[in-house]
Amino acid sequence: MSTTTTASAEAAPSAADTLFERLADVWVELEERLERVPILARLAEGTVTLDDYRRLLFNLRQQVVDGSPWISRAASSFDGDHFELRSAAIRHAEEEHRDHLMLERDYVAIGGSLDELRAGRKNIGSEALSAYMFHYAGRPNPVGLLGAMFIIEGLGARRAAGWAARFQEVLGLADNQVHFMRYHQDADTEHTGNLEAILTSGAIDARAADEIVRCAQVVARLYALQLEELDR
């Protein structure tokens, strides 16, 4: 089914602790990579432009519209033995279902054209990320996707509001123009809380933990690629 390497879990105090430590390493690596992403570097140093923000929304939108569909596909891939994960996925899919509409309103509020936004195509990184998510979600019992959630929801909970605030500070944007990024701080903090509950529930065995970490690594890299490959 997967070609994950079998990590040694024998020396670890508990599977959950080890899993969190391994995910934390993935996160640290992602953060280091994000610092080098050109648009985020410009955001940090305050040289970002309105066109940068517009491009970011444009590029994110093309992948965000796929969020709810791949989570829904994942829900349908969980069998009866993974009933709780199926429930969680169904709930989550519903919650994400209208997210892109918020992003679209922000795009229009800064002067963008809704028609052009909706006619846009995915960038190279978004293509890879979206294709990987759909592929993974179609596998039987795709428990590894919890690693994807860790990355994507983590970015929403820990980084998006900071980006929104910085864009507002540098570009003088109103709250009405950064709904999408601001909203994710609250929504994704709730989601990451749910995720932690699942990861610590004892339902994750060593093999599942490997899958989760591997999926997190791939998604972290592809998410950064999406931000690196704006408009390409």
């Binding site: 309105l50 509020a109 800064i110 002067g111 507002q168 570009l171 003088g172 944007l173 109103a174 709250d175 009405n176 123009q177």
Partner: protein, 380 residues
């Protein structure tokens, strides 16, 4: 509290119909060449100081354009100045004293002629201060982040109703003559955005303030009513049109005896702006003031100089004498000229002031000149 955006004026336009008409050319267009009218006209022109103006009338006094056409031409000039198209704006706020038609609203007609895409409209009616009321609405929506770009226009075409045929057989006293030889046609427009102009200076709108004192003042300027008192049976809508016309209800009138009160009230409003700190007299660099006649120029100028001793004529701008009194359009026509002729430098502040005699309204706007974003680092 939620964060709001800034609002910047990034494009300026005006449209003055036809060639300028000097004082000798008025009678050919508006009529009234009998000796009595002639004498009144000369006296009024002497006091208001207007040397030339524009009319959307040909040399025989026949209309050449609609008010909505003036508005659209000023808007196009402002959009061109900014380098954008009507399709780029999401809100259009229009001010006029009288549109071409009774229904629908003026902004609907202007939008229909201007084109562009779907947009929010506002028709601000009133008199001279209605253009700043329209600006206030547009600025507020920009600051909320509801729209990225808006356009605001003030437009007037009173000349049609100042022609002799309106006065024939109607008792017209000083209250109607005063305006007849003072008002003229024109339109002025601005583009409002949440970002400054990318490579030219912009005017940041710090605040707009609009105050009515109608609760303690009678009607000063009117049309469509028999006298200053609003009474049933005394408005043009209550009686037959022919009777309304015979009663002189369609003449625009102003109770000139109230104008000193208006000037005093306007000065008190300015004093209040200083008292509550909206205007910092140490950092006020320019004043663009609308006034109907030069009589009030000196009154207003001296009153402001009491609070701003450094205010000299270089920092005071009006183009009443050369562009005429165009009512709600005046403040944008003056701002456009002041801006285009390079009176303002980055970092300086500008106060717009518009007293409205209608029933005592006063509008002010405070602006700050900002350099283009890429030059801001170089500005101390």
């Amino acid at each position: 509290m939620g964060a709001t955006a800034n609002a910047y004026l990034t494009g300026f336009g005006r449209y003055l119909p036809g060639a300028p008409v000097d004082n000798d050319g008025i009678a050919a267009r508006l009529g009234g060449d009998d000796p009595v009218t002639e004498r009144i006209r000369r006296r009024i022109l002497e006091s208001n100081g207007i040397r030339q103006r524009h009319y959307a009338l040909d040399e025989h006094g026949e209309p050449t354009e609609l008010n909505e056409e003036l508005a659209v031409k000023a808007l196009r000039a402002a959009l061109d100045d900014r380098g954008i198209d009507a399709a780029d704006i999401r809100m259009l706020a229009c001010a006029t004293t009288m549109g071409d038609v009774l229904v629908p609203g003026f902004a609907s007609m202007v939008h229909g002629r201007l084109g562009g895409g779907p947009m929010q409209l506002l028709s601000a009616s009133g008199v001279c201060a209605s253009s700043l009321a329209a600006l206030d609405a547009a600025v507020s929506k920009i600051r909320l982040g509801d729209h990225p770009r808006a356009a605001v226009v003030g437009s007037e075409l009173p000349s049609r109703s100042l022609r002799q045929r309106r006065y024939d057989g109607v008792r017209a006293g000083m209250d109607s003559h005063f305006l007849r030889w003072m008002l003229s046609d024109g339109a002025g427009a601005v583009v409002v955005e949440f970002q400054p102009h990318p490579d030219k200076p912009s005017l940041r709108v710090d605040w707009v303030r609009h105050v009515s004192l109608a609760h303690e003042h009678d009607v000063c300027m009117r049309a469509g009513m028999t006298g200053p008192e609003p009474v049933l049976g005394g408005t043009w809508q209550d009686v037959d049109i022919a009777d309304a016309e015979a009663a002189g209800m369609f003449l625009l009138r102003q109770d000139v005896g109230m104008l000193d009160d208006l000037a005093d009230a306007g000065i008190r409003q300015f004093e209040e702006l200083v008292d509550i700190g909206l205007v910092d007299v140490r950092h006020l660099d320019h004043v663009v003031c609308h006034y109907s006649t030069n009589m009030f120029r000196d009154v207003a100028f001296e009153a402001l100089r009491r609070r701003i001793p450094t205010l000299d004529t270089d920092r005071w701008f009006s183009n009443l004498e050369t562009r005429g009194n165009t009512g709600s359009a005046s403040i944008f026509i003056a701002l456009e000229e002041a801006w285009r002729t390079g009176r303002f430098a980055p970092g300086e502040t500008v106060l717009l002031a518009v007293p409205e005699s209608g029933r005592f309204s006063f509008a002010f706007a405070h602006l700050t000149v900002v350099a283009p974003p890429h030059q801001q680092g170089a500005t101390p």
